[in-house]
């Protein structure tokens, strides 16, 4: 699992720090950091909370296109 730069970008667009986002979704800043770095795989509940806090959909933040998938 690679870095999730889309969360970072969405967070930056909303001018939120990791701490702000972590407080908004009720987790520790280190947990948010681990999610962005790809070190932790969040539950679907936490993914939804992050999407709601950033005003994005699950697809926009978490969907990974399969390279071998037929277009």
């Amino acid at each position: 699992m690679g870095k999730n730069l889309r969360i970072k970008a969405a967070r930056a667009a909303k001018d939120m720090s990791q701490k702000d986002l972590a407080e908004a979704v009720g987790v520790a800043r280190q947990t948010m950091n681990a999610i962005e770095k790809g070190d932790y795989n969040p539950s679907i509940k936490l993914c939804i909370a992050i999407c709601k806090a950033l005003g994005k959909t699950l697809d926009e933040l978490f969907w990974e296109e399969d390279e071998n998938e037929e277009q």
Binding site: A24, G26, V27, A28, R29, Y40
Partner: protein, 151 residues
């Protein structure tokens, strides 16, 4: 998923459970080895201090590890001044120990000399080492937090 409860978040819970399982297994095998050694006549400490030391060591490792991975305090409690609380705990422990010695009227050195049992001293050393380790881990955690700060 606003976390209203004053509890650990999902990553913290996952890490704490994983470390807890490992430390439980460590304690189980350490106690098993101790029983085996006892059967062979090796008595490194008198019963029940040997069991106490094994449990305290495993608990200390567990505590240090969960503090190190930031799975000890819930997210809402992380803004409190933990260093001050830890220092108060250390000072309070020392004051309590001195008061106990003064009230009982026996110094630990005398007790050790008369009973030839150094279990109390070993337990005291283990506790002091544990508290110092907690202090060191807290400092390391603070440094790590500064290092990984983003933005």
């Amino acid at each position: 998923m606003k976390n209203n409860k004053n509890s650990l978040d999902e990553m913290q819970r996952e890490k704490r459970n994983s470390i807890g399982n490992q430390m439980f297994m460590l304690m189980f095998y350490a106690l098993l080895i101790d029983i085996g050694l006892y059967g062979y006549g090796v008595r490194w400490l008198s019963y029940p201090t040997n069991v106490m030391v094994i449990i305290i060591v495993c608990m200390s490792i567990y505590l240090v590890r969960i503090i190190a991975v930031n799975a000890y305090l819930p997210p809402k409690a992380q803004n409190r001044r933990n260093g001050v609380i830890l220092m108060i705990t250390i000072v309070f422990s020392i004051v309590l120990a001195i008061t106990g010695i003064l009230l009982l009227g026996e110094s630990p050195a005398e007790t050790v000399a008369t009973t030839k049992d150094n279990s109390a001293i070993i337990l005291a050393i283990v506790s002091v080492v544990g508290l110092l380790m907690a202090l060191i881990v807290m400092v390391i955690t603070k440094v790590n937090n500064k290092d990984e700060k983003e933005d």
